[in-house]
């Protein structure tokens, strides 16, 4: 569309202004530019370079925006990571991310939110792993080394968020970038293979409501850090002092 026409240019500018004002009213302190940055790609990690301890990747999930019944983040995650098995006993299926429906016992208020590995700064799964297969990368992403996991499931006993799954059966149709293995424990990797390429985690990218922000918690200029600094957010089971990298808003 050409904006040479002064009338069209005025309408476009006015529309942008109204949208900006409206957004400012909805989310004071959060600017349009910040949202643009939040959805933009992060910086790719150079091949052969180590993850930076200066960075701490995290997620902010706005539960008030999470649409009831929507499972797009789950579908995107499981498609991206090749989590597709359907075992006869559904309790044995892996779930890297799940939707939890909450009802407040005091007032009946309903909320839905996605729950996954919370990428704790002090992860109990890493503490208890006998071989060190459960590990925290320098940039805060908690992972399982498929080569040294012996499948003892102690990390599953230790995780307060029930975020980990054990692979109960042989696997097919794997994503080559996301190796999984029968007899090993696994969980959300924060789409580390995408993050290292400068992309967003699949769940964040797929959310039609824009309920998830991914970014560097350590960078005060990042959208996620600014949002956390400006609105009340929650760490699930904050009483345990695990300092999760996944934060929630609206619960």
């Amino acid at each position: 569309m050409s904006l040479n026409n002064p009338r069209r240019a005025f309408i476009a500018a006015a529309g942008a202004g109204v949208a900006g004002l409206g957004f400012t009213a909805i989310a004071p302190g959060l600017h349009l530019m910040a949202v643009g940055e939040a959805n933009a790609a992060t910086e790719a990690r150079k091949a052969g370079s180590a993850a930076s301890p200066a960075v701490r990747w995290g997620l902010l999930i706005d539960a008030s925006k999470c649409a009831p019944g929507c499972t797009k983040c789950i579908d995107a995650c499981h498609s991206e990571n090749g989590v597709s098995e359907k075992l006869p006993d559904a309790r044995q299926n892996s779930q890297w991310i799940r939707k939890i429906e909450l009802v407040d016992r005091r007032n009946g208020r309903k909320t839905e939110l996605p729950m996954m590995c919370q990428h704790c700064a002090n992860p109990p799964c890493v503490d208890v792993c006998p071989t060190g297969a459960s590990m925290k990368r320098a940039d805060g992403i908690v992972l399982v080394d498929r080569h040294t996991c012996i499948g003892c499931r102690y990390c599953m006993m230790a995780c307060p968020y029930k975020a980990r799954s054990f692979v109960h059966a042989p696997l097919t149709h794997q994503n080559p970038e996301v190796p999984r293995g029968q007899g090993c424990v696994e969980a959300c990797t924060l789409c580390v293979h995408r993050v290292d390429k400068g992309l967003q985690p699949a769940c964040v990218e797929s959310c039609p409501e824009g309920a998830m922000i991914f970014g560097d918690l350590n960078d005060p200029a990042s959208a996620i850090a600014q949002r956390i600094a400006s609105v009340p957010t929650t760490q699930v089971r904050s009483d345990l002092r695990l300092n999760p990298g996944v934060r929630y808003q609206g619960i």
Partner: protein, 400 residues
């Protein structure tokens, strides 16, 4: 008591060894099947991650530590009547440790990565500590047995006994702390579990020892001296009472905390099989009845009563461990306190568990390994406790 005919006796030994070997082999076969197909053939899930094999393995490992109490009372605390029982106590410890560890290792998702477990060590993991504590236990008990059974090494038996005593206290502290260090689950995460597991090891180990001792004496046409029997049965009674005390404190403590009240209600009242096993299996059959048998005179003097009490203590042990391990996982994690929760991953639901045949066979395979090792061990080496009554009377250990 009549002695078995030597020919029958030898035949019976081979039958028992064959049964033990068969049960062990079937257990290993079940583990190979699970290894091939994955844990999909078990009743374990992503909700109940540790199942029946862990109940059996933990019983065997805890009892393996506790059975050494008999040796410690002789070597460390100088009770003469127990000294002749130290070798059998050491053998039972090694046998049960073998059975328990075999089950734990064979249940791993990647049992083929044993070398990874041995070469990658995480010092913050209690499981990691156990990778050192368990093989160390083998080595220390083996040296201890050597000092007991090789006459030239006898002077070192007291030092070896003391080292064994300290090591097994550490080992059972490690086993209890596997659960004690779990921060998130209502059933676990208390420092009480380490001493509680030590006390449980005393009771369960002694119960196993009493059964084996009774069987060996019967096999050889011997009768345990009444004074020694009385001492050992009273000791078992004290240990069973101490377990009762610890378990009672554990549950009362949980009930006192409002955040754990619902969990306790589940385990003790509403939880179906778990309250049934707790009250009927552990408290009544595994604690109250054995205590009555051991302490009430008309019952305690009946022949076979101590054997019956010992068997019941072990039945109670399995019930208690089942409630503790499976029940502790069956109750849902309280991720959002104050909220009712629901999800496709069964959040907020009571998790069901039904062990499948392969895991039952694996669990019993551990018992089979312990049984076979004991049967062969007592056959080929001198493990039968030899009581020199005159010597014991002179030492004031017994009065007749």
């Amino acid at each position: 008591m009549a002695t078995l005919n030597p020919r029958n006796e030898e035949g019976l030994f081979y039958v028992l060894a064959a049964i033990g070997g068969l049960v062990s082999a079937v257990g290993v076969g079940a583990a190979l099947y699970m290894e091939h197909t994955g844990h999909v053939v078990t009743g374990m899930t992503n909700q109940i991650v540790w199942g029946l094999p862990h109940v059996f393995a933990i019983f065997l490992i805890v009892a393996a530590s506790g059975v050494l109490n008999v040796a410690s009372i002789g070597s460390v605390f100088g009770k003469v009547a127990y000294k002749s029982r130290a070798p059998l106590s050491g053998l039972l410890s090694l046998a049960m440790l073998s059975g328990g560890l075999a089950v734990i290792m064979l249940d791993l998702g990647r049992a083929d990565r044993l070398m990874v477990a041995a070469t990658h060590f995480n010092p913050t993991s209690v499981f990691g500590w156990n990778v050192i504590l368990y093989p160390g236990m083998y080595a220390i008990v083996a040296v201890y047995l050597w000092t007991l059974m090789e006459r030239r090494m006898n002077p070192y038996s007291k030092v070896a006994g003391l080292a064994t005593f300290i090591w097994r206290i550490l080992l059972t502290t490690g086993t209890g702390s596997i659960f004690g260090f779990l921060v998130a689950r209502q059933a676990y995460g208390t420092a009480l579990l380490a001493p509680m597991f030590i006390i449980m090891s005393f009771a369960w180990g002694l119960a196993v020892f009493m059964i084996v001792q009774k069987t060996m004496f019967g096999w050889n046409g011997l009768v345990l001296h009444p004074e020694i029997r009385k001492r050992m049965k009273n000791l078992l009674g004290i240990f069973v009472s101490a377990v009762f005390y610890c378990v009672a404190v554990y549950h009362l403590n949980n009930i006192y905390f409002a955040r754990n009240a619902e969990f306790e209600r589940f385990i003790l009242l509403d939880g179906g099989i778990f309250p049934a096993l707790f009250w009927g299996g552990w408290l009544l059959a595994g604690t109250a009845v054995p205590l009555a048998i051991l302490y009430l005179r008309p019952l305690s003097s009946i022949r076979g009563s101590v054997l019956t009490a010992s068997i019941l203590v072990i039945v109670g042990a399995f019930c208690l461990l089942y409630v503790f391990i499976i029940g502790g996982q069956a109750y849902p994690l309280d991720i959002f306190p104050g909220y009712d929760v629901r999800s496709s991953f069964y959040d907020g639901e009571i998790n069901r568990y039904q062990p499948s045949l392969p895991e039952v066979l694996l669990a019993f395979g551990g018992l089979g390994i312990a049984f076979t090792a004991t049967t062969v061990g007592v056959r080929v080496l001198r493990f039968l406790p030899q009581d020199d009554i005159a010597h014991l009377e002179a030492a004031g250990s017994i009065t007749d």
